[in-house]
């Protein structure tokens, strides 16, 4: 993404913004500061990045404002779910400090989707302060969802094609609806993005797909499996990024940074630890997440005493969907193919206990 010039970040396109209903609101109502000519005085107390609240966006957007405020996209509560499961309450303050320094810049305020680029890429007004109903995939969505989702979707991983939906000119909003992003309906109850029914789900659009021995289909592999066997991505995803050992710390000047020890492309089928009526499949793709027992040691000792309570190979829905993949070539592409499954041989010895519910027993590979 090309960095914006300093002036570009704060430039208001008078023509475009003048057509926007938000232009009728006084600038200082949302941004604070004072509407005066003096530069210093004008920006005293100014809020550059406006946060959703009942007094700001929620003042008019009464249907969306409250739910967006509590949405996963804004709260990043999914991180809390994951971290707290590996920790204990007395460590929460240290973990929250860590998140504030390293994670929270991806809090998605209303503006981060509808007005400006996220802070993680330097901020800046995308369309001269014009409010866009749909965010820009390149300048907003993938600004935060970059290293995995963007690379997979765009086909930026070496040797891996782009997602078929990208090639069909579909942007993020075609599947990830406004209601879901705003935490409305079922999305408002989620504690993580894989909580509840898939949203989006493949069958939301591909509702003509039938699976199982009684399925009305000419696709042999669809009739050979049913929804209790495997998630769609087991056949239709391909290699994706797996990361190893992320550590966070700060410089002497208090500048936060992270280091990921390693990352590699791979595709692994594991057991679904999130199995439910909404996600009944036994097998799912799993991705290695770079958490380590000492990932946050800069902020305290032994902050993850329950590290093994949660796997390090996690249920994944890679954004690199293909109709034809190595898995779909023949039945033998998967069956009796140990290399495709997450087994004890694949997992680092130190992580086997954490992943015991994910590992596929070598004797049980279908």
């Amino acid at each position: 993404m090309t960095p914006m010039e300093p002036w570009e970040r704060v430039w208001i396109d008078a023509e475009a913004f003048g057509q926007d209903i938000h232009s009728y609101i006084n600038c200082t109502e949302c941004h604070g500061g004072e509407a005066v000519d003096d530069f210093e005085l004008a920006h005293e107390g100014q809020v550059e990045r406006v946060v959703n609240s009942p007094e700001v966006c929620g003042r008019c957007h009464v249907d969306v404002g409250p739910t967006q405020y509590d949405s996963l996209h804004n709260t990043l509560a999914g991180y809390d779910t994951a971290l707290y499961e590996r920790s204990t309450p007395e460590n929460h303050p240290a973990l929250e400090e860590m998140q504030a320094n390293h994670c929270n810049q991806c809090h998605a305020t209303c503006g981060d989707c509808h007005v400006s680029q996220p802070t993680s890429v330097g901020g800046g007004l995308v369309s001269g302060h014009d409010f866009e109903a749909s965010p820009s995939m390149s300048r907003q969505c993938t600004a935060c969802h970059g290293s995995r989702v963007k690379n997979e979707y765009y086909g930026a991983n070496e040797g891996v094609p782009s997602d078929v939906h990208f090639r069909a000119r579909m942007d993020c909003m075609e599947c990830h609806t406004a209601d879901a992003m705003h935490g409305m309906g079922a999305a408002g109850e989620q504690t993580s993005r894989y909580d509840g029914a898939p949203d989006p789900g493949c069958l939301d659009c591909h509702d003509d797909i039938e699976m199982g021995e009684d399925a009305d289909t000419e696709i042999e592999m669809h009739s050979a499996h049913d929804e209790y066997d495997l998630a769609c991505q087991v056949c239709h995803s391909t290699t994706y990024t797996n990361c190893v050992n992320c550590h966070v710390e700060q410089t002497e000047d208090g500048v936060p940074f992270y280091t990921v020890e390693d990352h590699y492309l791979g595709f692994y089928i594991g057991l679904n630890t999130n199995r439910s009526e909404d996600r009944p499949y036994e097998y799912v793709p799993v991705r290695h997440v770079p958490i380590a027992p000492d990932s946050f040691s800069f902020y305290g000792e032994d902050l993850l005493p329950n590290f093994d309570e949660r796997p390090t190979w996690m249920y994944a829905t890679p954004h690199n969907i293909q109709r034809v993949t190595p898995q779909t070539e023949t039945c033998d592409s998967c069956h009796d193919n140990d290399e495709l499954f997450l087994t004890r041989r694949t997992v680092d010895r130190a992580e086997r206990r954490a992943n015991q519910d994910v590992l596929v027993d070598l004797d049980s590979i279908p």
């Binding site: 010039e5 300093p6 002036w7 970040r9 704060v10 430039w11 208001i12 396109d13 008078a14 023509e15 003048g18 057509q19 209903i21 232009s23 009728y24 609101i25 006084n26 600038c27 200082t28 109502e29 500061g33 509407a35 005066v36 000519d37 530069f39 004008a42 003042r59 008019c60 957007h61 009464v62 249907d63 969306v64 993680s120 302060h129 970059g146 290293s147 995995r148 609806t177 209601d179 409305m184 309906g185 990024t241 990361c243 992320c246 410089t251 000047d253 500048v255 940074f257 992270y258 280091t259 990921v260 020890e261 390693d262 990352h263 770079p290």
Partner: protein
Amino acid sequence: MLRPRLISALVAGGALLMAAGIAMLSSSVGGVSVSLASPRLEIEPFEDFACLECHADQQRLSELAVEEEAPEALSSGPG
């Protein structure tokens, strides 16, 4: 100097904002009608022309907007 078209649009904004607020009250979400609380439609006349005088002026912004010295990027690996 703000363009006259923008100024007139801003000055006439109150009634339009009121109408938009009423429209929002009757919006439905995801195909399901949602019971909405009454929004606070206390519309003040637009007065913050000083903000726009500067922020809509590309040349003036080019002179005033200064690139902050970014700290050395020390992070490595996929974020």
